[in-house]
């Protein structure tokens, strides 16, 4: 596989420029005509700690991280704490090299900064190198950078060395550096890049290296984009001009992108005292007639339960995004998990009336961000976009044309003053904002400041004018009408293509997944079919209202279904069974909750061990099989 794809991993400490260097290199690979996909691994630490980013590049489609990787660029961790006997974190200085060896494929390449890393500190390093046929290139990257510029430019030296070893021309990298760097640091960086490149070409026989850069060509202009970018752009294109939030990893990315762009668009961003306020501000802005959003990650979203319920009861359009990370409580702040699914579906008191969408890819993140706003405003209901640290942070190339769409700033069923005059009012002039019998359950609204539109929005149960009411007849009429909206939304969603299928339609087995695991599952399904296993997959995005009929048809069409998700308790499988209880004995689970997203091979091996060979766990992986109920 080494000749088909490059999986380049750059490792170092937090604060060492790993993210920006890898982003630029991914873009250079994309511009060279390849498809790229990144995977970030970083600790919840300001400086230092074991950090890496992986770039997978191939001429064919890449929608997932790979199985392991084949090229390591190990830089020093400038913020590593001094090694001392008994230190809790061990010797941090050597980690950029030592922590990354387990996943390096046979025949892989190691470039390490010999100015900072000493492999003699790693037990059995030489034996492992020989055993795995690794090609090792110790280079004094720091020294080179220091001599020609500054020490921090050693990342550039590492990229230059990489290009020399994988046979990649420097032009795309140089173009990017010219775009991104100010004059003052550009010249030394270019010099360092070229010197490192030449030095490697001169000193080593690079023909021995099995890992090379693939070649490819794009038919149209590509963009390198993350899920967080896509969510923010979707919101902007749907006319969202107000955001309120409080920082929390990983939701902060969307909040930051919106905050940096909104002033340019005449919008408003508010960083506020807590997440209760953040969601309440979004409710207030929406009530006053602006398209508004807020969001958070698990712990912050918990604080939003109250305003979320208020938006449900007052039928205030609202979009919240929830960027999942590993829980419970503070959990693992920088690690992905999908275990906030039930939290988001069910939090807040009473019978919930909300929409929850879980996009699976960067493209879907853009589309479903827009869809979330459309549904929220057309149906006057809070809509939650549920994603995770993986989808939010991973970068991939997307055709530019994907974003060439018209904006949609419409507010939904909102009345002009002329239309308001035609609507039912009480004798005292109060507008009947919450009428009982209306099509789809959606009753048109007025905006404060409009003549003839005054009403009371209240979290109490209320009559058509908004007046607080505990009348049984009114209660039933209002609950039924609000519930009716979910049926209308389900019918609406049935006309929108949010699900993703892979594999032959007449396959024997099925894999169900949701959200960010979709790309990995689809790659695994492809490999299983190549290996002669007849299997197809369905990636579901609509969590609520659930596409019961569609999922039922999928389950009906196969013998057995493996549900793949990043939770420990099988929450998504639980959701499927809540809606399709009678299929319980056809559903088993493959779970992963160690803080790292699935690799395709883990799904392949997990599927083979559990379904093809019988009920069991695949060896060598930190995944868990949970058999079907009754098994």
């Amino acid at each position: 596989m080494t000749d088909q794809e490059l999986i380049w991993r750059i490792s170092g400490g937090s604060g060492d420029g790993i993210a920006s260097t890898s982003q630029n290199f991914a873009k250079a690979l994309m511009r060279s005509g390849l498809n790229v996909f990144t995977h970030r691994h970083y600790p919840s630490r300001i400086r230092g700690g074991h950090t890496y980013t992986e770039i997978r590049a191939a001429s064919g489609p890449v929608e997932s991280r790979g199985d392991g990787y084949n090229f390591l660029l190990a830089l020093g961790d400038s913020f590593a704490r001094n090694p001392q006997e008994g230190a809790v974190y061990g010797n941090e200085e050597i980690k950029p090299l030592s922590e990354n060896l387990d996943e390096l494929r046979e025949g892989g390449v190691i470039v390490y900064d010999e100015g900072l890393l000493d492999p003699s500190e790693i037990p059995n390093f030489d034996e492992r190198v020989e055993e795995n046929d690794w090609h090792v290139f110790p280079l004094d990257l720091r020294g080179l950078a220091r001599d020609m510029g500054r020490e921090v430019m050693r990342n550039t030296a590492g990229v230059g060395a990489t290009c020399a070893l994988i046979g990649m021309e420097l032009d795309h990298v140089e173009d990017l550096m010219r775009d991104a760097m100010p004059e003052k640091i550009l010249d030394p960086n270019l010099e360092i890049l070229e010197t490192a490149y030449d030095q490697v070409r001169e000193e080593y026989d690079v023909d021995d290296v099995d890992v090379s850069v693939p070649t490819g060509e794009h038919e149209e202009t590509q963009l390198l984009m993350s899920g967080s970018d896509a969510i923010a752009y979707g919101a902007i294109d749907e006319g969202c001009r107000f955001i309120a939030g409080y920082p929390m990893t990983p939701w902060t990315e969307v909040f930051t992108i919106m905050t940096q762009n909104l002033p340019e668009l005449g919008g408003i961003s508010e960083q506020v005292e807590d997440e209760i306020a953040a969601a309440a501000l979004a409710v207030g802005a929406s009530h006053a007639g602006v398209k508004a959003m807020s969001g958070s990650s698990g712990g912050g979203f918990a604080l939003m339960s109250e305003p979320l319920g208020l938006a449900e009861m007052t039928e205030t359009p609202l979009v919240l995004v929830e960027a999942m990370r590993a829980g419970p409580s503070t959990g693992m702040p920088t690690k992905p998990e999908q275990s906030d699914l039930e939290h988001v579906l069910y939090t807040s008191q009473g019978d919930s009336q909300r929409v929850v969408l879980a996009p699976g890819t960067v493209e879907e993140a853009y589309e479903q961000s827009r869809l979330a706003f459309r549904l929220a405003y057309e149906y006057q209901i809070p809509t939650i976009l549920l994603y995770d640290q993986k989808l939010g942070g991973e970068l991939k190339n997307v055709p530019k044309s994907h974003f060439d769409r018209e904006p949609n700033p419409t507010l939904g069923k909102t009345l002009t003053e002329e239309e308001l005059a035609e609507q039912p009012h009480s004798a005292d002039g109060k507008f009947h904002r919450f009428q009982h019998d209306v099509e789809d359950g959606v009753t048109p609204r007025s905006i404060p400041g409009q003549k003839g539109g005054r009403y009371l929005a209240t979290g109490n149960e209320h009559d058509p004018t908004g007046h607080i009411s505990e009348s049984p007849d009114n209660r039933v009429a209002q609950i039924d009408r609000r519930t009716q909206k979910l049926e209308a939304i389900r019918a609406d969603l049935d006309t929108v293509d949010t699900s993703s299928y892979a594999g032959p339609a007449d396959a024997e087995y099925g894999v169900l997944t949701f959200g960010s695991q979709q790309g990995t599952v689809e790659e695994a399904v492809g490999r299983l079919n190549d290996a002669g296993v007849s299997v197809k997959s369905l990636g579901v995005s609509d969590m609520l209202p659930f596409p019961t009929e569609e999922v039922e048809a999928f389950i009906e069409s196969v013998e057995e279904v493996l549900v793949v998700e990043m939770t420990a308790s099988g929450q998504f499988r639980g959701l499927v069974q809540k809606n399709l209880g009678r299929y319980g004995e056809k559903l088993s689970s493959l779970l992963k909750y160690n803080g790292n997203p699935f690799e395709p091979a883990e799904v392949v091996d997990g599927f083979e061990a559990a379904i093809v060979e019988g009920d069991g766990d695949a060896s060598g992986h930190q995944t868990t099989f949970v058999p079907a109920a009754g098994d």
């Binding site: 107000f242 408003i268 953040a278 305003p307 507010l411 109060k430 005054r454």
Partner: protein, 312 residues
């Protein structure tokens, strides 16, 4: 017809316009101080020329939250403690609205205390009325953040061991630019203070002493009261932060010694409101954002044209 033609309309306003047809008679207990807040608002709003449909009243939960049912304007009866974040966002979305928030002492100084501090700090151009009866009324008489030390209730059977919260001092320190206290028993002063508070360009906090004859029988009826701005016994400059702070402290301590001091304690007419500050740094549009969604000529920008190229 413009989008929001109720806004800025010049006409005579009858105070009966604020009385709803449904439930015109409030359900507060006889003798409750809350009636005075309602009456003072009905008097103040016509005087400042704000009609029911250009006014947004946001309330919390409690006896005070019922104000929305008895004052007929655009209303948002929110959740316990959260009237301020809803209200201030509405003001940012449409600065032409007259935004008033109201809640009780438990609502504003207890569960919503964080929002109170930050809304005052930011100096949003709005009025915040706190019905301060030193008790939780709607839940039947539990000790509140402003209950005096030693106050006995079903939830504090041995008497509260806590010092009461000092709302005026807290407000000043947090950054409110208008801080006043009035009392239900003083309707003329209440009306005048509400007029000033509504007209003030910044966060105007009115601590409104509202006696609770049902659950706080020990409490004074807040008589006799003294207006510190008119009394010869008190001499301080309400525009001076240090003097205001001292007067507030005196007032807050005096209340628990049986002396009811009211009036304007701090007024800063020079501090820009939050909206002005935000416009100043280019983070808020000059025209109300809420208007834009109705402007057929507005060209909505696409991410494709504005932000996408840097991803190439």
């Amino acid at each position: 017809m413009s989008t929001f033609s109720a806004i800025g309309e010049e006409r005579e306003i009858d105070r009966d316009e604020y009385t709803p047809g449904v439930e015109p008679q409030p359900t507060w207990c006889p003798g409750c101080g809350d009636f005075s807040v309602l009456k003072a608002l009905k008097q103040a709003l016509p005087e400042v020329g704000r009609t029911p449909e250009e006014t947004l009243l946001c309330t919390g939960i409690g006896c005070s939250g019922k104000l929305n049912s008895y004052l007929d304007t655009y209303g948002f009866h929110t959740i316990h403690g959260r009237s301020l974040p809803v209200a201030r966002a509405a003001k940012l979305a449409n600065p032409d609205l007259e935004v008033i928030a109201a809640g009780g002492d438990g609502d504003g100084y207890g569960i919503g205390g964080n929002h109170f501090i930050h809304t005052a700090r930011e100096n949003h151009d709005m009025t915040y009325i706190v019905f301060n009866n030193e008790i939780f009324g709607l839940t039947k008489g539990q000790t509140s953040p402003t209950s005096p030390k030693g106050h006995k209730s079903k939830t504090q059977p041995h008497g509260s061991a806590k010092e009461p919260l000092k709302p005026l001092s807290m407000s000043l320190n947090a950054g409110a630019s208008y801080v006043a206290r009035t009392a239900a028993v003083n309707p003329n002063q209440a009306k005048e203070i509400l007029i000033e508070a509504i007209e003030h360009d910044g966060f105007a906090h009115v601590d409104f002493l509202t006696q609770c004859p049902t659950w706080n029988k020990d409490a004074r009826q807040y008589v006799p009261y003294i207006d510190v701005n008119d009394s010869d016994d008190y001499d301080f400059d309400r525009t001076d932060r240090v003097e205001a702070a001292e007067m507030m402290r005196t007032t807050e301590e005096a209340l628990y010694d049986g002396e009811v001091l009211t009036g304007r304690f701090y007024v800063d007419e020079d501090r820009p409101s939050y909206g002005q500050e935000k416009r100043q740094i280019g983070e808020m549009p000059e025209e109300p954002l809420a208007e834009r969604y109705w402007d057929d000529d507005y060209e909505w920008e696409r991410s494709y044209d504005r932000f996408i190229d840097k991803h190439e």
